[in-house]
């Protein structure tokens, strides 16, 4: 009997270790690094930028993005190059894209602020509800995939602790394992929620940047509409909805109106 219990424990441990390693392999496979494929391009782009051949650098970086791969550094670099070329609206567009992927990056924020100084419009931003913005700031510490991994780990530990809780004979062990496994489950739950939220922040973001140097925003989606206000390139707008070739947009200070789809580009 002694030996069978030992057997059981060692078997369990072995099973868990086996599963752990299987998981790690799976996660590793899920996060395969495509950077190698574009290694040459990226190196070229860096050199071109250093030699002030900004448009050529943009072409390289953009090729990578157009192939379906991106990173916050990629967009940040494109933003820098456009800034050097003097194309403010495109530099802001790319900094915003970079920011979506890395919301707390100081360099992106700094350069974005610098670019914004060239935007003609000075829009008073209505501050967001402070709890909402505090929550958002804490959640974006990790990106969606990081939260997903955390969730999986938490779930694994939760099941482990629960298993021990059920199997263990000593009451002391049982007493400790129950709250610990509950904590692990809570961590899992929150991580899943955060993973979904951070995905939402990127995928559902409906902002755009004005690309045309002067845009007249109208009260209705047709050219006969009353002109409501004029905004300039580089200004960030929130796209509320679309109708044919028109978008209804809202500014940071609450002003709303319609403009033509070709005058903006979505982040």
């Amino acid at each position: 009997m002694k030996s069978s219990l030992e057997n059981m424990m060692s078997r369990r441990i072995k099973a868990v270790i086996a599963f752990f390693s299987l998981n790690i392999v799976l996660l590793g496979a899920l996060c395969a690094n495509p950077q190698n494929r574009f290694g040459a391009f990226l190196k070229e782009a860096e050199t071109l930028y250093a030699n002030e051949k900004f448009q050529n650098a943009i072409d390289r970086y953009q090729h990578v993005a157009d192939s379906g791969f991106h990173s916050s550094e990629l967009y940040y670099n494109i933003g820098n190059a456009y800034f050097k070329l003097g194309d403010i609206s495109r530099s802001i567009l790319n900094y915003e894209r970079a920011l979506l992927l890395a919301p707390t990056d100081g360099d992106i924020l700094f350069n974005l602020e610098k670019s914004r100084t060239y935007v003609v419009d000075n829009i008073e931003v209505i501050p967001e509800f402070f709890i909402k913005s505090w929550l958002r700031k804490t959640i974006v510490i990790f990106n969606s995939n990081a939260w997903a991994v955390t969730a999986l780990m938490a779930f694994l530990f939760a099941t482990l602790f629960l298993l021990v809780f059920f199997i263990a004979r000593k009451v002391v062990v049982k007493k400790v394992m129950l709250p610990v496994s509950i904590i692990a489950l809570l961590v899992f739950l929150f991580s899943i929620i955060f993973s979904s939220r951070t995905k939402g922040y990127v995928e559902d973001s409906n902002y755009a940047i004005i690309m045309q140097s002067t845009v007249t925003v109208k009260s209705s989606p047709d050219n006969g509409g009353v002109d409501v206000f004029i905004i300039h390139e580089g200004t960030k707008v929130n796209v509320l909805r679309s109708l044919a070739d028109w978008h209804e947009i809202k500014l940071a200070d609450g002003k709303q109106g319609w403009l033509s789809a070709e005058e903006i580009e979505k982040i």
């Binding site: 009997m1 002694k2 069978s4 219990l5 059981m8 369990r12 099973a15 599963f19 299987l22 998981n23 799976l26 899920l30 690094n33 495509p34 950077q35 574009f38 990226l42 860096e46 930028y49 448009q55 970086y61 990578v64 791969f69 991106h70 990173s71 550094e73 990629l74 940040y76 670099n77 820098n80 800034f83 003097g86 360099d107 700094f110 350069n111 610098k114 670019s115 003609v120 969606s144 995939n145 997903a148 991994v149 999986l152 779930f155 099941t159 629960l162 298993l163 199997i167 899943i192 993973s195 995905k199 995928e203 690309m211 045309q212 140097s213 002067t214 050219n223 006969g224 033509s260 070709e262």
Partner: protein
Amino acid sequence: MKLVNTIFVLLIVSLASAQTLQFKAEGPRYVKVGERFQLQYTLNASVDEFEPPSFGDFDFIDGPMRGSSSNISIINGKTTRSQNYTFTYILGAKTAGNFKIGPAKAVYKKNNVSSNSVNIEVVGNSNANQGQQSGTESAKQGAPSVQGAGDQIFVRLVTDKKTCYVGESITAWVKIYTKVSLSDIDRNYKGPVFSGFYKQDIDIPPITNLEREKVGNDIYYSGTLQKVVLFPQKSGDIRIEPFDLTVYVQKQVKRRSRSPLDDFFGSSYTTEAVKLKSKPVTIKAKALPGNKPNGFSGAVGKFTLSGSLNSNKVKTNDAVSFKLSIKGTGNIKLVEQLNYNLPSTMQVYDPVIKSNIDKSGKRGSKTFEITAIPRHPGTIEIDPFSFVYFDPSAKKYKTLKTQAFKLEVERGESDSNSVVISNLSKEQVELLASDIRYIKPVEKLSKKGDYLIDKLMYKLSYLLISMLFIALLVFNREQIKRNANVIKTKNKKASKQAMKRLKRSKELLGQNKLDLFYEELSKALWGYISDKLNIPQSSLSTDSAKEALNSHEISNELVDELFNTISHAEFARYAPGAADKDPNQVYDNALHLLMGIENSFKQV
């Protein structure tokens, strides 16, 4: 002397009264083949021997018809008298081509005078049909009935260029061309949509008279409905979509019955609405070349820059004002940026911008008035202000610079603020000196829209973990059950096993194998305790066994007896000679004890 004076006076008088003769010939610029038109000669004095020129390639139909008018006006006691004499000819155009009708000649005060010649272009096929009546050049005159719109009437957006740079001005007119008389134009006309352009409307007088204009091989009456100046805001082909316009045409109504009364009253007219649609117009806007210098303002055109400073000597905390003026042609209305670099020791306010654009929409001036306050004494050297624009005709970016400025600042009265301000200016200096941060190496790339939480593999992992969890739990339960079973079984069989062993020991005793007997006896007893109490033999000791037996409420007597027997058996086993008890006795004891303990267990 008197004679000379008189002649002098007469000369002067005659000179004064001999006004400059105006002898003008007027005719239409364009005529259609087969059309009749009017050629009119106008004089402001009466002449002798008026002689028309040869009409050459034109048919002479009628003339000259003479006319005269005179006008006397007395203003502020001054009398002015003017006279007009006209000779009018009606000619017909025979063949197409560019023709010149030479000057007409006349004799005025014994001098030969002549008019200007007239250039007429005759348009159309040389064997064209109906001659249209053309009295004066106003379309409000009677015209034949409408046959159908299309080539009778059309509306067109005319631009002065089709290719230009982004930001360069294009003048566009909405013109209507017609061969028939129009009674009205739709009042609700909105005009074409100029998306992709910044538009400046130009005031034009409303259409009253249409002018003759040649279009291809044909002549139309045309008028301008709307005039705008457009500045493309993006590069590429920008299409201006067709627009609609409804016009009202006078149509002659033919009556079936021709009573003499009808002839008397003349034909009646009704107005018919005709919907016109223009053709789309594409403007090719070229993107400005990529080598934009720093500080390019977005201005396209030709400009000049001038700048001034209102004072060279001030005291600290006194305001100075820079006045910069940009003048020229182009998209001046959209110009917002002027480059300047005022030292951070001055407090600079946002410029006050004033625009002055003339009626053409593309020419004018813009002044930037920048107020600045120096906070520290000293001599301040101010860099020239610059303005960068793109000249589309030179196809180059041009930078204009003002002169540099020098400002002498004396210490003023209140300088208590200077400490605080200098802190601010320090910060400003740091910011001014910094550029954007440098690029970062791109080390990791992720696939767009690739999220772990969406992946099947990820969700399966959870399933796997859960299943494993359940499996292990179930496995665990089964093990416990099995163990319990084993224990139960062992427990049940405990006495049976013990009996079996005792029997064996009895056999051994019979065979006189004493040490084996004692061994077997020992095994029987220990084995029984181990099975019954579910304590593995390895952790079995006298103390643990005693404890366990006591916890099952087996009487101490029995327990002590049992262990006496056990210890005796062990002693006898290892030191056979020293055994003092009769083995048979020991055997019987053991048997009794076992049964007793078994009964005790059963009673619990």
